[in-house]
Subunit: 594 residues, 2 copies
């Protein structure tokens, strides 16, 4: 089994050449992100990922987390790894100094997060959910709540969870039934929550649940949901965990993948909870953390794709099978065109997804810390447009890449010991949690495109058309091939957007019927845009005499992406535009008529 | 968890309206296939699948087959089910009366096989491999071998295996090392084989291994491989199993899916083997059974897709979540456009794959039993062209459909108890065994298209263009929409074929670089052809006053297939034609340069 090595060269290339790290480092509060500091962080994170987390990935999958009498034991080695994670300051990376954080830009934290997730996705989910909980408290928690919880969570001493889902309330949070009854300065929370990632575990001394619930007088639907902090142990005045709260783990799920990550059924019985922000505004707070979580899940798509690619590449280089088509000798399978095609599909899409995600991460930094308010708004609009694309496209493609990873291994890919199958099983959750691809696509079509009359997306389309003029200057035939694929992609997006804007108001079913194909179209076009930018940056780098092997590969990889991925664009637009007619054409009974 | 119900209406529609069962029944030896007999068989198979095999599918997955001391125990209930399978005469269905078979056409056997596989893919693999072994013995076995083995195997008393793969010899059988030393009337076989499906089990009293091995003087490579019968127990003169042979199961694999099907590592130590046919011709015999097995694996794609669709449909009809886009009420998720789109993708592609597979099965009947030799040759050429398409396209699409089935379930799809994840895990092997999709695609491009200068595929393209004239007569707008999608598909195939023919000789890497996208293009176009035929047949049926619900759904489903699946055709052709440049563009070291 191959081990994970962080793709540091590509990470640096994307950070510096595409995502504009030097500009981000000029933002207020981001000044820590000097080239030397960032380099040191990347190196250290890469070591931690390879040396500590990667060795636990397969064993963690085999052993899984185990439930017994309400307690959850994580797999062997996880506790020690978590301690190293907290002690290394990794939990504190993206947070402000006020709570002990390191105050690094989202962009830098993104690169670290990718590495940790590549090496051990199950492990990485605990920090991911904790970060979401920290964001919610930062956003809406009272000073007292912040004081009690944020320091502990930023240091990694305590972890956090998001308790949204109930058996009858999944994507549809209007159906949440968990109750919150006010008693003095706190509430008593009662109800059942399911699918709670790291809802119970043995990694940290306390767990801070953020729980959606309804007060007795709350209006029905999403406007009557409030957000509460419900700690596993009630903090004592000295800040240490005290009395056990009535929040218990009734069982954990038997899942397709991420076996090491405990997915808990949580039962709250008059558990003490503290209101976050105002009553009935819980969903709005939740959405803020959900957007960050959606971005992170998109990044999981990138991360698992990278890991699957590395494993497949290692196998393809060593497995001798079949003869070279030209010289007839037995060769490693990387010499066979179809194996090469699969590896290039893995490599090119992973690089495109990474570039898009990091560019969006940088935009988040601009959106949160630019001095000018209009600037912030403009960057935020772009981030809002792209979050569902990063989440939906990178996860769908991540699954495809993990599946290609199995395929490259042939029969060995189906054997669990090889490890390739685990990536596919792990990746399979990413298009589901934090909002399915359908939910992302509806968000994209409805909230992000129809709502502002297409203003943001049309601005982006114009920018892409302007960028075409830059591409036109290159004399490289690979760049020109890519340019024409990208132009077709942009036209396809533009046609599909026109259809959506014309349809969304009068026939919503028709507009939303093509939402997922549209999201894929947006993804491959945005990814193609980044790969084309990468190709131009590589041309500049080659002229400057930088790393030839890497930069020439980048240009060829961009061209491959154009011919093998962007080539789907016009077909996707046709599906969006023509395909709505047949989607709802059957009466429900007709599905049973076979 | 939903239970399997055979889609009998669609099976009958495809058998009668698309695959020409009445014409097949006129072929010599196929006269048993009267409408009444076929109906009775379909009903009985449907019952056996739903009542006996389906209830063991999930439990079989959970329990798995277990190895201990060389013996393999199949999951609870499998033994009893296998007895019922043999006693019901299901094993005998497609074989000649000479060995106790029922002599039914391949077309009818195909419908039965689909149902058994849908209900329990792990179980169905034992019969599948046995049938392959029977075919090889029928084809090349001596009269003595046939007499000893065929009756037992056709009755189901004994099962069969195919022992091809060795650790160093997977797709590349030239590397087979297992040895066969002649001693009197038999050979002594020594070596190790891996990935042997049902290589050891407790379902039957004997196991008949068909083993590829080399005699001491054999030439190197594929021209030095011979085929041997190696029974687990040497048959006594009275036909009963006697002495234990030196063929032992060293272990079974821990796999991603098909847990109930034991995948054995077999060790042969001076095991007694009997030559099948002539020395050094083993590979040719193996290819005959492999073609049948490839077709069957393609059918597994159809079968698992159907089962995944049924499960997703049942969930989508009962799960209440989200509000109707138009009237704002909480509805079952089948009302949401994207869920509907996923169900239609599942339904339309499953129906298209089924129709193509059954049409090819009928062609197999014509190819093997038509009176006229030229007729047989013509049908065989079409079968040869389409086998890799049925295998490659139906399995790739089967995985996609099983994955959509998980997606329709949302979070519940990731929980193993739901059953949707099992279909994805089971389906994942189908693009690998009996030749990966890459192997199928190379076979298609090299042997089936380039070798005859494109004659067969061009004949098919002409037939499709002729069929366009039939479609032109319809006044139904859905049929016309489908017609234009199909025409674009045919043009895309034609363009891609021209490229392949122009390139295969002078630049094989370029021709084979697009082999898999080309195979997918062939698949969706052939599937679209069948769906368009189905739409015309449905129009005729509606005029004749037949089942309105079913037939109207068929026309809408055909249109959906055009807009959502065939729409990819021109992009795939572009990838085949333009995409070869970048596939091999990187030096191998450049993959490591990140």
């Amino acid at each position: 089994m191959s081990s994970y090595a962080a793709p540091l060269k590509d990470l640096r290339f994307v950070l510096n050449e595409l995502a504009g790290l030097s500009e981000v480092a000029k933002l207020p509060g981001c000044e820590e992100a000097t080239p030397d500091t960032v380099d040191a962080i990347l190196e250290e994170a890469s070591k931690f990922a390879s040396e500590v987390l990667d060795p636990l990935n397969h064993s963690g999958d085999e052993e899984g987390s185990n439930w017994s009498g309400g307690e959850v034991t994580t797999p062997k080695g996880f506790k020690q790894a978590y301690r190293q994670y907290a002690e290394g300051g990794w939990a504190a990376l993206p947070f402000g100094a006020e709570w002990g954080g390191q105050g690094l830009p989202k962009l830098v934290a993104t690169a670290v997060e990718e590495m940790l997730t590549s090496s051990n996705m199950s492990f990485s989910l605990c920090p991911l959910l904790t970060q979401g909980a920290i964001h919610a408290l930062e956003l809406a928690g009272s000073e007292a709540l912040k004081k009690t919880y944020l320091g502990k969570m930023v240091s990694g001493a305590w972890t956090g969870t998001m308790n949204l889902t109930e058996p009858q309330a999944g994507s549809d949070l209007a159906l949440v039934r968990t109750k919150a009854k006010k008693t003095g300065d706190h509430y008593l929370i009662s109800g059942q929550k399911i699918f709670i990632t790291y809802g119970e575990h043995d990694l940290a001394e306390n767990i801070v649940h953020l729980v959606l619930a309804r007060t007795p007088e709350a209006p029905e639907g999403v406007k009557g949901i409030s957000l509460f902090v419900v700690p596993k142990f009630l903090p004592r005045p000295d800040g240490k965990p005290g009395e056990r709260n009535g929040a218990r783990c009734a069982s954990i799920e038997h899942k397709l993948g991420i076996h090491a990550s405990p997915t808990a059924v949580m039962v709250f019985e008059n558990a003490v909870g503290y209101l976050v922000g105002e009553e009935n505004k819980g969903l709005a707070y939740m959405f803020v953390m959900m957007n960050a979580a959606r971005f992170s899940v998109g990044l999981e798509g990138v991360a698992v794709a990278e890991r699957a690619f590395q494993r497949a590449l290692a196998y393809a280089r060593e497995r001798l099978q079949g003869k070279d088509l030209e010289d007839g000798k037995t060769v490693p399978i990387i010499r066979h065109p179809d194996v090469r095609r699969m590896l290039m599909l893995m490599k090119s899409q992973t690089e495109a997804m990474r570039a898009l995600a990091y560019v969006v991460a940088a935009e988040m930094d601009f959106a949160s810390t630019s001095k000018d308010k209009e600037e912030r708004k403009r960057h935020q609009a772009f981030v809002d447009l792209m979050i569902p694309v990063v989440k939906g496209w990178s996860t769908e493609t991540g699954i495809e890449i993990a599946s290609l990873g199995v395929q490259v291994h042939g029969g060995m890919g189906f054997i669990e010991e090889t490890g390739a199958a685990q990536h596919l099983r792990d990746a399979r959750i990413t298009t589901i949690y934090e909002g399915t691809t359908g939910i992302q696509a509806n968000d994209l079509v409805g909230r992000k495109i129809a709502r502002d009359g297409g203003a943001t997306v049309k601005g982006w389309i114009s920018a892409l058309r302007g960028f075409d003029q830059e591409l036109a200057k290159s004399t490289n035939p690979d760049v020109q091939a890519m340019r024409s694929c990208l132009a077709a992609g942009v036209q396809a997006v533009s046609d599909a957007v026109d259809f959506i804007l014309a349809t969304a108001g009068k026939d919503p079913n028709a507009a939303f019927a093509g939402a997922v194909p549209f999201l894929k179209l947006m993804g491959i076009t945005a990814g193609g845009w980044q790969m084309a930018r990468a190709a131009l940056a590589a041309e500049r780098g080659l002229q400057a005499g930088s790393d030839k092997q890497f930069l020439q590969a980048k240009i060829k990889t961009a061209r491959f992406f154009g011919d093998h991925v962007l080539s789907q664009a016009s077909g996707l637009a046709a599906t969006v535009i023509n395909g709505s007619a047949a989607v709802m054409a059957l009466a429900e009974d007709q599905f049973l008529a076979a």
